[in-house]
């Protein structure tokens, strides 16, 4: 009996001491947080390579965070210093914004709002947009003669849709707002990890998927994108976002972060995503190769 008590107690002590040691770590480190899909991970690897190449800082990447909200919350708590975010994010209730679909205006609101309320510097875009797009299999598009999202209306109540993990709950550009704008809903909506929706539609487990426009899955499974004819989705231009405090502490970062601005267009990004998602190459390898092509890395 006594022995058991001792083992239990030591287990407890070991546990507690590990909790304590895990808390105390520091050093000159930049932490880049990423959402749980490939694109921001590739970009994070690019910045890791660039920053480690040009400064004495080490960079850690925290991949697969549940949503952009978690990423932003992490930056607010100074646990993450940097991320890739998309301008349409402003419509998710962080602060008061004006409803608009104008690219420039949305970007401006993101830059101003996140600086004011979150002390984050929202840089100018990389040069590509990654927005939501309703897509169907080619034969489904032909069968029902679908071109625009509105064309789905007569068939929607028999169709199943696959969406990412956050869309159903998103406020201004989510499912509820969608129903208001387009005036119909689908028979069933299945939220899942975005990487899985393409296979789901290819296997005919769902009829429509809400894809990300730069996702390699569109190309891989030869899906047809439907035009957002009611302009429901806001612009989603991708930009690097860095804590203002971090930039003050390491001013050299500003220039390095700017290196990629205007350098990645949508086709390039889709291709880079394709290398990772379809050809199963590592994000790091793809990122470094791209930087070499640009001449940013030896």
């Amino acid at each position: 009996m006594r022995k058991r008590g001792i083992t239990l107690c030591s287990l407890l002590l070991v546990g507690l001491s590990l909790v304590l040691t895990a808390c105390g770590s520091g050093g000159k480190k930049i932490v880049i947080g990423t959402q749980n899909y490939t694109e921001p991970k590739i970009i994070a690897e690019m910045y890791k390579a660039l920053i480690e190449d040009r400064t004495g800082l080490t960079v850690e990447i925290k991949p697969d965070l549940a949503s952009s909200k978690v990423v932003i919350e992490g930056m607010r708590n100074n646990e993450l210093h940097m991320a890739t975010l998309y301008t349409g994010e402003v419509f998710n209730g962080y602060f008061e914004v004006e409803q608009t679909k104008d690219r420039e205006k949305v970007l401006q609101q993101a830059q101003q709002g996140f600086s004011e309320h979150y002390q984050l510097k929202w840089f100018d875009p990389y040069g590509f947009e990654n927005t939501y797009a309703f897509t169907v299999r080619k034969e489904v598009a032909q069968k029902y003669n679908l071109q625009n999202v509105s064309d789905l209306k007569p068939y929607a109540d028999t169709m199943r849709i696959g969406v990412d993990n956050t869309w159903l709950e998103r406020e201004s550009d989510g499912y509820r707002a969608f129903q208001k704008t387009y005036g119909f809903q689908f028979k069933e909506a299945f939220p899942m990890q975005i990487g899985l929706v393409y296979e789901a539609v290819a296997n005919e487990e769902v009829d429509v998927v809400l894809a990300y426009t730069t996702d390699a899955g569109l190309k891989q499974y030869d899906l047809q994108t439907l035009r957002d004819d009611k302009q429901f989705f806001p612009p989603f231009d991708a930009s690097p976002v860095v804590r203002e405090e971090t930039l003050k502490e390491y001013p050299e970062l500003e220039e390095i972060v700017s290196l990629l601005i205007g350098k990645i267009d949508a086709d390039t990004m889709t291709e880079l995503n394709y290398y990772v998602d379809v050809e199963h190459r590592s994000e790091k390898e793809v990122a470094v190769e791209f930087l070499r092509q640009l001449g940013l890395l030896e």
Partner: protein, 219 residues
């Protein structure tokens, strides 16, 4: 099939060090969560057994925590405890609390009243009674609670990456996002093995406690 199995083994052997590292992270998170849950849950169970009025409150509170969807709980904890390790450990602690508290409570309640009478008759104080009679007799039940909590915690811990934690979930989510099934298996299979091993190991321990309890009762 054989081909993908081969690829899987190749991947696992190539990445063995990395996978072991992730497994280690996974185990640490689970152990910390469990240790906290034992430290808090057992006293809570003891108190509940002693004061029946409190038992209802404590057990239903633990019940409420249990029905929280794990991802939601993690997201809420992240706001209070930040990204990563701490928030995950607290989540695992909360999930482990119910099985441990409840089993402690039930275990103490099922102790044969004649044993307690015998103890009281021998002049034991309530504390002595608790530590020398009631708790030793309830160990197998308590162990069953820890066993259950461990298996749940190993599963829940795979969600850790979603709020910046480590562990085998890293491999699973990385595989999910890059549509790489081999990676998914490389994370999921070890996690499942951990759960099975924990179940078998703690089950054995439970059996032993049961066996060792019998002669003592006969004494």
């Amino acid at each position: 099939m054989a081909d993908s199995l081969l690829k899987f083994f190749q991947y696992v052997t190539d990445q063995a060090a990395h996978l072991l590292f992730l497994s280690w992270d996974h185990i640490i998170m689970v152990l910390c969560g469990l240790a906290l849950a034992v430290a808090v849950g057992v006293p809570l169970g003891v108190v509940s057994a002693r004061f029946p009025k409190l038992a209802g409150v404590v057990l239903s509170a633990a019940n409420v925590i249990q029905v929280f969807p794990s991802l939601a709980l993690l997201a809420v904890l992240m706001i209070f405890f930040g990204l990563g390790f701490k928030a995950v450990v607290i989540a695992l602690f909360l999930y482990s609390l119910l099985p441990i508290t409840r089993n402690t409570y039930v275990a103490l309640k099922q102790v044969d009243p004649s044993m307690i009478e015998a103890g009281t008759g021998a002049g034991m104080s309530p504390l002595q009674l608790l530590f020398k009679v009631q708790l030793p007799l309830s160990l197998p039940f308590l162990m069953a609670g820890i066993r259950l909590a461990a298996v749940i915690a190993i599963g829940v811990a795979t969600l850790a990456p979603l709020i910046g934690g480590d562990g085998l979930g890293r491999e699973i989510y990385s595989g999910l996002s890059a549509r790489n099934n081999i990676k998914i298996y490389a994370g999921a299979v070890p996690a499942a093995l951990l759960a099975i091993l924990a179940d078998i190991g703690l089950g054995k321990l439970q059996q032993r406690l049961k066996a060792s309890r019998k002669p003592k009762v006969a004494d």
